[in-house]
Symmetry: C2
Subunit: 335 residues, 2 copies
DNA sequence: GCTGGCACTCTCCGTGGTCGAGTGCCAATA
DNA sequence: TATTGGCACTCGACCACGGAGAGTGCCAGC
């Protein structure tokens, strides 16, 4: 009753079930896979695996299917597999001529959804703290203005602020000029104190403090967090294996980006190369029958890419694709 | 055999079918709705409506369901209904404290999806032609740079350009300064000729023409067209009435924004208050069993908001909600 | 510790029969 | 002429039944 063989049986069950979407029986396993033992032996192993909670039968006298714990064990015993060559080429082609950060993210997410046939998720790279390059103010009506902050690492942030009351043109222009003079090239605490001092000057426009806050906020690390996703149709596609009524909550969870972000962050904190959450491990009711494979890319640990699909997914393939895309994204972003 | 009564019968069929999602028979109609005639009469009317192609029976001896043409007739004979008060209040609350254009769009789309229980779509307001306010260039590595164009009407566009070869810092800075001097405050053809002349000057950096193009492009009308959507889960929700296998193509169509944009534009061109495309009228295979209700908002005809759902949708309600959101959006955008 | 065999238990699927909603048509009526 | 009540008919939905087949657990033998 070798421990090894039982792992092999589990692996075989997972692979077969993922491929066929049908409970797998002892006989079929003994025949097709080259385990070299009879179906009776496999039945014994199955009984033990079931006691350990790794597999289950949907109803008496049906084949077995892996439980969440079973998938977990399967994934944990998985050796990193190579990235298929066609994928490599696809990635290189797809991402090579992106115009824009936005474009890179968009292409990545589409590509990943195609490679994995799952829902792909990419989190926008969040800022490292960076210096102010230029601040622009544009009037919107009498009492509002749009602040545009261009930072040294080529990010653009925009936000509107209330002016409180009508401000004369000269005062308006002067404020813009001064903010640029004071803030340009500064970042972090230095920037905050410099702009704070400026805003506190007597005779300053009343909205100076607000403006200062916005500029400081725009250059701080991690201000903007957005996720983009693609391939939601893969959830609904025939053979995804998700029940019709479980799809709606998943779509909701995706649109509720906050939820997804928190989850991705938790996963990133584990710091592995690629990390996997299976079924209930996501700690979200809506994602109970889905799994997420995620990896971070770039230098900091805040940039994330992942794929989401039914727990019954092709883990090795998905992990390889996520790893590959993460790697290429790193290369592009770290330029 | 009054023409009027037949319309009433059709209306009753549509309303009943939308409510129950089940084929409606002559007896049920005669009983519940106050048509004041017997079921036999209704049967006669139904026979005529069926000849006209407005209703059909899924199989012999079942009730009738409206065809696409039936919905069309129903919608065409519809009087504009009032916007329910709770909706009015919801809209006012939801949109009042938006920070940002992006924020307005995002809130609108979420709101509309909640009000209609359909997929909501909002197209970003596209630019009217506008003047250059400021151009910024940020180096990205040796051979690429990010161009940021802030235009007079507070839009920010960014794009990267190749520099072709390493450019000295002074030349780089000079180019930025000159572009701002030449372009600032100009728009349209004037801007194009001015920047064209500048780029053609002898001794100019090799990427001057590219830069000029980007700046001109960024201020042209209709450069950026994006749609944002929300409520995709409504497609999958129980009782949406869509078959599981028709959902995937719809999700694909949504992600393929180009397709959706073209369709919305066609609808806008009809110029009605609210326009409706039913089933095959969308001219897209994937949207064959869905309908779209759309309206434009703002001054120009390029800004669009709409709701997409199964052909069997609550047209009066959806139309009212779309109209309401469009109206409020107009108010916000036209500030 | 592995294997073959056997009895048992399920689900799946096709059959056949009943039920009832809904129809079309027709003759009678206002 | 339009409407109505009545009647025979059709066809899908539902249910019960039963056989087939896949898969299991257990046990005795190697």
């Amino acid at each position: 009753m070798s421990e090894e063989r039982r792992q092999a049986v589990l692996r075989a069950i997972v692979e077969d079930y993922v491929a066929t979407h049908e409970p797998v029986g002892s006989k079929a396993l003994a025949d097709s896979k080259g385990l070299g033992v009879s179906s009776a032996t496999i039945r014994n192993d199955m009984a033990i695996l079931e006691e350990e909670g790794l597999i289950a039968q949907p109803h008496t006298s049906a084949g077995r299917i892996p439980t969440d714990a079973g998938y977990r064990s399967f994934v944990d015993h998985l050796a990193a597999s190579a990235i298929p060559d066609p994928h490599k080429r696809a990635i290189a082609t797809f991402l090579s001529d992106a115009v824009d950060l936005n474009d890179v993210v968009e292409r990545s997410v589409r590509l990943l959804s195609q490679l994995t046939r799952q829902v792909a998720v990419v989190q926008y790279p969040s800022l490292r703290e960076s210096a102010v390059r230029r601040v622009e103010l544009v009037r919107l009506g009498l009492e509002r203005a749009l602040v545009v902050v261009v930072s040294a690492d080529a990010r653009v942030e925009q936000q509107t602020i209330p002016l409180g009351e009508a401000t004369a043109d000269e005062a308006f222009e002067r404020a813009v000029r001064e903010v640029n003079e004071v803030g340009q090239g500064l970042s972090g605490a230095t920037l905050a104190t410099a702009l704070g001092a400026w805003a506190a000057q007597p005779g300053q426009v009343p909205w100076a403090a607000t403006l200062a806050d916005v500029v400081v906020g725009a250059t701080r690390a991690g201000t903007v967090e957005r996720v983009m996703f693609a391939g939601t149709s893969n959830l609904a596609r025939a053979g995804s294996g998700l029940e019709a009524d479980t799809i709606a909550p998943v779509l909701d969870a995706l649109e509720e980006q906050v939820l997804l972000l928190r989850l991705l962050h938790e996963m990133a904190d584990q710091g592995d190369d690629v990390s996997v959450r299976i079924g209930a491990e996501t700690h979200h009711e809506a994602l109970r029958s889905t799994s997420i494979v995620a990896a971070n890319y770039g230098r900091d640990t805040l940039s994330l890419v992942g794929a989401l699909g039914p727990t019954r997914m092709d883990y090795p393939g998905t992990m390889a694709a996520v790893r590959a895309v993460a790697r290429y994204l790193s290369r592009v972003v770290e330029l």
